[in-house]
Amino acid sequence: MTKPRFRRLLPGAALVLGVALTSTACLNQGPAASSDGQGEVGGTIQVAWWGGESRNAKTNAVIEQFNEDFPEVTTETQSADYAQYFNRLNVQASSRSLPCVVQMQDRQVNDYVKRQTLQPLDDMVASGAIDTSKIPPAVLDGGRGSDGKLYFIPYGIAWDALMVNTTLAEEAGVGAPPESWDWDQFVSYVSQAKDGLPDGTYAVAAGGEEQNAFYAWAVGQGIEVFNAEGQLGFTKEQLKEYWSLWLDLQEQGIALPPDMSAEEPPGADQGYLATGQLMVGVLPGNSLYVSQQTLDGRDGGELQAARYPDGPAGIGNILVASGFGISSNCDNVPTSAAFIDFFTNDVDAQVAFAADNGAPTNTEVLDALTAEDSELPDLKRDELEQYRAISEDNPPKVNYPPGFNAVFQQAFTRNYNEVAFGRLTLDQAVDSFFNETNASLG
């Protein structure tokens, strides 16, 4: 009498399982038909970005302006910290319920391109729904996927750079860094500074674990970091050479030791550069202003951005592009396109946004923000001028393959530190890095 009762549960369980299975199965219907973005602007869109409270406030200010221009549109917003933003995006993608307008970066856009989670925007640009005429073509290319199509419109460019605490550098007797230099000059600059620095202060960050510093080194030598197949484009010998350079600096007490580097809090405003414990840091350009604010609180000196050392092949500073794209499951493409167009090109809106996520790609906006009457703090303006200088130098573009964001950074940092902590030999660590990344890339 009881058995049947228990059995009655099974169909129910099976039903739920079935629903779960079929619901994912029929969700993946491939990409939506390519749209030119023309049509009625109205209804509701969701806009998602990464960032903390201060960026949320600025983005919301832009959205308010958008809603004044388009009162018939309701804009729902979603934001979260960088890592959690992408975790949530992936979960939403699993049930094809992505927000219409999603923020992307060139570092992981190909993960979504490969799985057809984003709509190509080329037709929308061609039809005039999204205006890209004010964005330099080389900068716009940052939004292209590995298939050559445009998947997001870059609105902000982070450029990776060295940050130098010039007050500490004067104290150490090496003075401000030169306008441009090569790697040998850079190494002797930080080496000479070592003895003149106060106790507990280091001349340079642990650059061996920083993927961006590695690109600068590699790109300057004319090495393609990723090849056309989306696998590692450099050799084991080249990685060994780069890591040895930094291991030496760490061993001599010039670069930050690995244990201190491991406990460094994420975010520029509490890093060692911001606390005055570091003379040369490796940070994205938009952290200059943030770090200086903390440094001011402890009279820690003045910061200045410096160019990466050049290599035989030229400049090593690479650009990182962030911008908005449209998800394939979006059912309100015209409005989404209108939003992206507004966010990227409206000068008033971008002035309000104050280059919070890197230098503006739209040259009119850039001019407005660096103009005499701009209300931007001086350091922030310096940051934008630096970008202008670098972007005019035709900086190289790194084509990040799918899987890059998932493995490369973590494996790079971890395997380097396995050597720095003396747990693996250099050869072992390089082998392990190549195995790990090549298995997940492409």
């Binding site: 619901s23 409270e53 960026r55 910290d81 979960v91 699993s94 001011d296």
Partner: protein
């Protein structure tokens, strides 16, 4: 009356431990008490240092948050509290209200559903009891991260995303096996003869559950309510997935928004709001502690 208490007939006036103590020299007792308090306070000071430091740092100017190990500083400011409270388009009070709604929903759900379930497993005989109880335990053995996706798919199909429902409704269906197990263990410490005598007095199962077991289980109920409060209040992943819109954000999401690895973090405001967010939990703890303390005394096991 019960097996455990049917021990030797007790003298009419049991000499209580504290009676005995009063006979010792009063001075000795005071010294002992002082030492005990001194030891406790020392241990607490070490234990609570990180929290005290956080409270101290929350009153420092924003660019001196990490100025040192000291609990004190030269200048104090309320700026962090003002900034934190007026975050975003809303303000932090909205996050408190949202967190409270979810937390209360979960507490009520867990108390009702888990106690009913626990009574059945602890006191009733039915077929497949061991198998079903095994299933209760089994649900706790699978890391929750791998069921996130199927759950999200289900709630998304039901149209529940961006509402409080995914975070509250399941708790009315006893999905928190931890509390079922806790209450089962608790109820099983209670002598079964209590039920028998209630049955003789004409109580049905509902009567036994409601009049005997529940009043006797007040400590377990208090514990369940307390734990649910803490877990719901601190939960980040659930609200992150199911409440993406910022007007539904909870306190934990609000706290998280003060940190930004790609831009500007404001640790000062984070510490200020984290300090404030502790207040409701501490208040609830002190309130529900009465349940823990008085549970047995008020119901009177005699």
């Amino acid at each position: 009356m019960t097996t455990t208490l049917s021990a030797p007939p007790q003298p009419t006036r049991v000499p209580r431990p504290w009676d005995a103590r009063t006979q010792r020299p009063a001075g000795n007792r005071v010294v002992k008490g002082v030492i005990k308090h001194a030891v406790l306070l020392c241990v607490l000071l070490i234990m609570l240092y990180p929290l005290l430091w956080m409270v101290g740092a929350s009153f420092r100017p924003g660019n001196q948050t990490f100025a040192g190990l000291s609990l004190f500083s030269d200048t104090y400011t309320l700026q962090n509290y003002a900034d934190g409270w007026s975050v975003g388009n809303l303000n932090f009070s909205r996050y408190f209200v949202n967190s409270a709604i979810i937390t209360i929903g979960q507490i009520v759900g867990n108390l009702v559903a888990c106690s009913l379930t626990a009574y059945a497993f602890a006191r009733l005989e039915f077929p497949f009891k061991r198998v079903l109880f095994g299933m209760v335990i089994a649900t706790m053995l699978l890391p929750q991260h791998v069921t996130l996706i199927p759950k999200y798919i289900i709630f998304n199909q039901m149209g529940w995303v961006d509402t409080y429902l995914p975070l509250t409704v399941p708790h009315f269906f006893a999905v928190d096996a931890f509390f079922i197990f806790l209450m089962v263990q608790f109820i099983r410490t209670l002598p079964k003869s209590l039920d028998e005598s209630a049955r003789i007095d004409g109580c049905g199962h509902w009567g036994i559950f409601w009049r005997i077991i529940m009043p006797m289980s007040l400590p377990a109920i208090g514990t369940t309510a307390m734990f649910t409060f803490v877990w719901a209040w601190n939960d980040l992943l659930g609200p992150l997935l199911y409440l993406p819109s910022s007007d539904l954000w909870t306190v934990s999401l609000g706290l998280n928004s003060f940190l930004d690895q790609t831009g500007q973090s404001t640790y000062g405001t984070l510490f200020a709001m984290a300090t404030l967010s502790l207040a409701p939990i501490v208040g609830f703890f002190i309130a529900s502690q009465r349940l823990l303390v008085e549970g047995i005394a008020t119901t009177g096991l005699k």
